[in-house]
């Protein structure tokens, strides 16, 4: 299509469904969602009140899908949404919302506000208002196969390096194995030790797995942007690869939004159920632990805490596995005051960290995370999302804190019982 | 069940408090009578007193030396309470139902006084009867 204001409005009309209608009907303008929002609480701008971000969508709902709204529109009591208005909401829908979904936990009438934000983004993108960084990332992913635009060769080189380091063979495009592993660009580029770590864990557990040369990217800018068509195209590549290789289980890596895209949104955007199951890597590790196939030794005695990534924990339902694993390999783990479903966002999700202009905002809202970490007096923060990890590292550095950030898989790998010791 | 079996008394603490207030008012009024010659009358029907409270009030005031009964379209009973200057006046209709009840603070209740018009009428009648008697004597 050619994105346009009309396309945007039509898309908004298209995405409004029964839940959204019930949400807008039920909103009492109580403002409690604001108390859940890290942007509102840290910056104090009333416009950051979550439900306020959806005002254009609310009006479209009211005018188009309620009897009263139709009447109000008829007699001119209700003004149509304008292009300028949508434009003004880019800031509120994309730049100052990480879609962390904490607001949805606060709403007394149970509105899933971030569900609506996701739908609103759909309309904004159709109106051509998606931030350019997200568009660029989507283009790169579609064209090159990875969010950051590196080619498969780059990944292959890293895989070979990991093989050399660990002495374990790592499959690419190997059919009929137990798992197809997806990776996120951030991991490949910044935390590539993950590949070797996983190879060791799986080797020990006796799990067979492979990477795919056609579908290795788990990240999905289509989801952030709210471009379901683009999101679907990326999902379809993964589905095609899994089907071709006849693999029944796909692993989503340590990346929150990737998990949300492939695990929960995927089948819905492509319009059919998967012929395979999807797991977060931490879920896989926890299952191996439960089955006794994951053997570790010793424990991390640093005082550490865990940061639950929004999309995996609060929105994705992965809350217990990470704690089981932490209890296995650490002996000084403390929970944050607000945790799991009510954890505070790191401030980088929902595509916000990739939008350059949001940097000042991100710096401000990180103070919430800083306080959360500081009051625990820990030396290490463990997480299971590459974006969170990046954002935490940046924030910690900005604030001159002496805290280390680790990925959970890596922490587990560090304590893996080596063959010799066994 | 017959309607007059339904109990009529309700224990109402407000009513008792009202009766106590009446006692205080009477003291004030009695002082006014002594010091300023001001008589006063309290209409008991205008006060929300339940029968129990009224009985209590009656008991507190007691009975004094004077008691009078009137026969004037039904009876009326007037008596001085144990407190001189405080009178209990109750009017009944020909069917002996109380139609009005007052506590009066005065030297003597108006209703006991002979009424000027009645006296004038009596005088007239008396003189007439004397005249008639005298005329009779003459005859």
């Amino acid at each position: 299509m050619t994105t346009s204001f009309e396309q945007g409005i039509n898309t908004l009309k298209k995405v409004i469904d029964a839940p959204i209608a019930s949400y807008f009907s039920s909103c009492t303008s109580c403002g409690l969602c604001a108390q859940g929002c890290v942007f509102y609480t840290e910056i104090g701008d009333a416009r950051y009140t979550p439900i306020h971000r959806l005002e254009p969508m609310r009006r479209i709902w009211e005018q188009e899908y309620t009897v009263l709204g139709r009447l109000k529109k008829l007699v001119g009591l209700s003004k149509a949404v304008t292009q300028q208005e949508l434009q003004d909401h880019v800031e509120l829908v994309f730049e100052s919302c990480t879609t962390c979904g904490r607001c949805s936990m606060m709403c007394p009438v149970g509105n899933d506000i971030v569900y609506m934000i996701r739908k609103m983004r759909e309309g904004m993108t159709a109106a051509g208002l998606a931030p350019k960084e997200l568009k660029v990332a989507a283009t790169k992913t579609l064209e090159k196969g990875s969010v950051m635009g590196f080619p498969m060769d780059t990944l292959e080189a890293m895989v070979r390096a990991a093989e050399k380091e660990t002495g374990i063979k790592i499959n690419i495009d190997e059919p009929n194995v137990d798992y197809l592993l997806l990776l996120s660009s951030a991991e490949v580029m910044q935390f590539n030790e993950i590949i070797g770590a996983l190879a060791q864990i799986f080797e020990q557990a006796g799990v067979t797995w492979t990477l795919s040369s056609t579908a290795h990217e788990a990240g999905n800018p289509g989801m952030h942007m709210g471009a379901s068509d683009i999101e679907a195209e990326m999902i379809n590549r993964i589905v095609a690869a899994a089907e071709e290789l006849n693999i029944k289980r796909v692993i989503s890596p340590e990346c929150g939004h990737a998990y949300m895209a492939i695990r929960w949104e995927g089948p819905n955007v492509i319009g059919r159920p998967y012929p395979f199951k999807v797991y977060h890597i931490i879920e896989v590790l926890d299952r191996l632990r439960a089955e006794g196939r994951l053997k570790t030794t010793g424990c991390e005695d640093e005082r550490l805490t865990f940061h639950d990534p929004c999309q995996a924990a609060r929105r994705g339902g992965v809350n217990e596995p990470q704690r089981n694993l932490l209890n296995m390999v650490t002996c000084n783990f403390v929970e944050m005051k607000d945790t799991q479903a009510c954890n505070w966002c790191c401030g980088g999700g929902g595509g916000v960290s990739s939008i350059e202009s949001t940097e000042p905002l991100r710096k401000k809202i990180f103070h919430r995370k800083r306080r959360q970490i500081e009051e625990l007096d820990v030396t290490t923060v463990v997480t299971m999302c590459a974006t969170c990890r990046n954002t935490l590292e940046e924030g910690i550095e900005d604030n001159g804190m002496e805290v280390e950030v680790l990925g959970l898989t890596e922490v587990v790998a560090n304590h893996l019982l080596k063959e010799k010791e066994a | 069940m017959r309607s007059f079996d339904i109990p009529l008394e309700v224990v109402d603490t407000n009513s008792r408090r009202m009766a106590e207030a009446v006692m205080h008012e009477l003291a004030t009024r009695l002082r006014a009578l002594v010091e300023r010659e001001e008589p006063h009358s309290i209409d008991l029907r205008s006060l929300p007193l339940d029968p129990a409270a009224k009985d209590w009030l009656r008991e507190q005031l007691g009975q004094g030396e004077v008691e009078a009964n009137l026969d004037s379209i039904g009876s009326s009973k007037v008596y001085e309470t144990g407190f001189s200057g405080i009178w209990w006046v109750s009017h009944s209709d020909p069917e002996e139902r109380v139609v009005a009840e007052f506590i009066e603070v005065c030297w003597i209740p108006d209703i006991l006084q002979s009424q000027r018009e009645d006296v004038k009428h009596s005088l007239h009648t008396l003189e007439n009867s004397i005249n008639v008697a005298e005329r009779g004597d003459e005859l």
Binding site: D17, C27, G31, V109, D112, Y274, N319 | -
Partner: protein, 215 residues
Amino acid sequence: MNEIELLNWARGPGLTYATIFMVFGLTLRVIEILAMGRDKELAEVRASGVANGWRMILKRSIPEPRNWKYITAAYIWHIGLLIVVFFFIPHTQLFRDVFGWWFGGVPSFIIDFFTVLSIAALLYTLVQRFTDPARRILSRMSDYLAWLVTFLPFVTGYMAFHRLGTDYTLMLALHILSVELLMVALPISKLSHAVTFFMARYYTGSSFGRRGIQA
């Protein structure tokens, strides 16, 4: 029209019209919402969403202590409203008359207590609507009107019960009329949340449930 005629109208045709409007309006709204439909969940679910949908309906009624500053007043008057509306003995008569059965009432002094508490809490929520930035930016004229039509029945009811202000008959008529205003406002304002919140919570709860989120 004099007081008693006004009262007769309020108790008679007024109440009937208001009831018809409210039932019609709310039913229409519920159908309107339900008919918008939602796409079938195609992802493999962790659990059926149904149980968690129902659980959410109850669970979101439990106050979130961290927000006490913002919710205490609202909880107080919501609870007060439920008690006063459904358990004041004269009200129970109305419901018994309409439904054929109703709960017993509670003594008037308890109703009185909750009414005063609710009035105070409602006033405080109005203050909050003016002072809390989030609430203020969200507030449209309809929010203030909704506050008013919720507030009026409490005040008129209190005044009628205590024989305050004008003649009781007029006050009672005004009280009933204010409730009828509330009934009319229910389907055409945000007050419809009194019914649609079940749906909102259910939709969210079921989608959370499918993903294995307990909250």
